[in-house]
Amino acid sequence: MLKLETVSAGYGAAQVLRGVSFEAHPGQILCLVGRNGAGKSTTMKAIMGLLPLMEGRVLCDGAVLSDLPPHKVPALGVGYVPQGRRLFGALTVAENLAVGCLTFGKGNAALDEVLEVFPRLKERLAQRANTLSGGEQQMLAMGRAMCLRPKVLLLDEPTEGLQPSMVAAIRSAADHMRQQGAAVVLVEQRLDAITALADQVVMLENGHLRGTLTRSQLMTEDRGLLEAHLGV
């Protein structure tokens, strides 16, 4: 579904990612782990086409995503929930969701589904995004991406700094998207979340790929390896 082939990217001349390859499959959650500064967010931006690649390519459903201008990427069904949410702060909840719906026309069915998953948003449609609580903002960031009916959903630390009930809501939304058949790429630091959700784990260190674990490996021998790559 989503495939990175020896992707190298960075900011200006500063290279961050060095030949990263992995593949995310539909109906699965891939957890991307690594210490702070390992290049997880950079990987997400590289997939979205927000950073020029120095080497390699990104494929989605066979199409070469990295040959497209960045604004054409969502049309392939790639939804992005960035680290720190990055909502359109001065716009209302409804308008933020409308931006999410832009790519696939009116998308009312998708919107209804989002409001069903996050009923809190429904009560706050006319409220400005930057006046929402942290948890509500994260729901909105998630909902905005879900409006695309994404085939690939990129979640960059979606539960960072949230209270347990919010964390559960966000995780169940991620699980919901997996059940809908999306390939979910989740950046996550917490071991309990990784063991609960991951079908596959990809470990990064200093922009290098340090190996991947399948779900069965994760449950058994390689726990120690994984823990060494978490930023904790």
Partner: protein, 308 residues
């Protein structure tokens, strides 16, 4: 004339200034808001609007009404398309880098000015107003305990000036509707908030920028078409609107459209009132002092709460 009617006259003159200024400045505010570009050439798009209005009304010949109407429809469009082309060929290439866009738009300013001088010449040329009847305005007085309307001698305004004020209100309402009620407005406001996320949600940011830049310049050109029957077209006329627009945009809070319109009202009305009762110079001193005051004490603008 009594004080009351005199004040009324000053307010009408001020409202005219405010109307034209609100149109011009909201164009500048739009460009700065959406693109974070300080368009130093904004006044030249205003000048171009006036000069093209003269040109179109000459071409049309015949009754000034048709010439004027044609100019009103065609000129803002022409200037907008030219500005969009400038955006796509020059600003895009320097990637909207803040410092370099300032230098680039200064260059555009001189190019537009000198090309106009070479083709249109150094003369100031008038455009005939489409209609220009005097409209006497009523005032009231208390006589025998009852309020009575009367028409004081000298209290009047031309119908054309009234039209400019009305047209500006309609256009600003239209701009508000465009920004808040349409898809294009949503695209512009989302891009304004976060360019990278706009990309990530499929907004063609490059095209939105070209449209915003064209729309901003078109607003200035429209203001100029409206004012040129009162002011005459001249190749150096862009300086004042640019300066006043900057003043208004700073007072109103950088990039805020409602702020710019409120500030245009404040500056326009105070300009009218101070000019009539004291002197135009004092009005300029007031505006400049107000900007200095805002920059020192309210850097987000008089009404600004914007945190960026």
């Amino acid at each position: 004339m009594d004080f009351g009617p005199y004040l009324m006259l000053a307010i009408m003159e001020g409202a005219l200034t405010a109307a034209v200024l609100a149109l011009t400045a909201s164009g500048l505010a739009l460009v700065f808001g959406v693109m974070r570009v300080v368009n130093v050439a904004h006044g030249e798009f205003f000048m171009l609007g006036a000069v093209l209005a003269w040109w179109v009304s000459q071409l049309a010949g015949g009754s000034p009404v048709w010439g004027f109407l044609l100019a009103l429809c065609v000129v803002p469009l022409l200037v907008g398309v030219l500005a969009a082309a400038v955006d796509m060929t020059i600003l895009k290439r320097i990637n909207y880098d803040p410092e370099r866009t300032i230098v680039a738009t200064i260059g555009i300013l001189y190019i537009l000015q000198q090309v106009t001088l070479m083709t249109y010449g150094p003369e100031a040329r008038p455009v005939a107003p489409p209609f220009n009847t005097r409209v006497a305005l009523p005032w009231f007085e208390m006589s025998n305990g009852a309020l009575q309307l009367y028409w004081p001698w000298g209290l009047s305004i031309t119908s054309y000036k009234l039209f400019v004020i009305g047209a500006a209100c309609v256009v600003l309402l239209g701009l508000w509707a465009l920004m808040t009620q349409t898809k294009l407005g949503l695209l512009m406001r989302a891009t304004e908030q976060d360019r990278e996320m706009a990309h990530a949600f499929g907004i063609p940011v490059q095209r939105v920028y070209a449209i915003a830049f064209g729309l901003g310049a078109g607003m200035a050109a429209l203001a100029a078409v409206l004012i040129v029957p009162i002011q005459q077209a001249h190749y150096l006329m862009g300086g004042d609107p640019l300066l006043l627009s900057f003043i208004v945009v700073i007072i109103g809070g950088l990039g805020s459209l409602p702020g710019a319109i409120l500030a245009a009202l404040l500056i326009g009305l105070s300009d009218g009132i101070i000019s009539v009762f004291f002197s135009p110079t004092l009005a300029k001193i007031f505006a400049t002092l107000l900007v200095a005051f805002v920059l020192v004490f309210r850097p987000n603008g008089l009404w600004g709460t914007r945190n960026s």
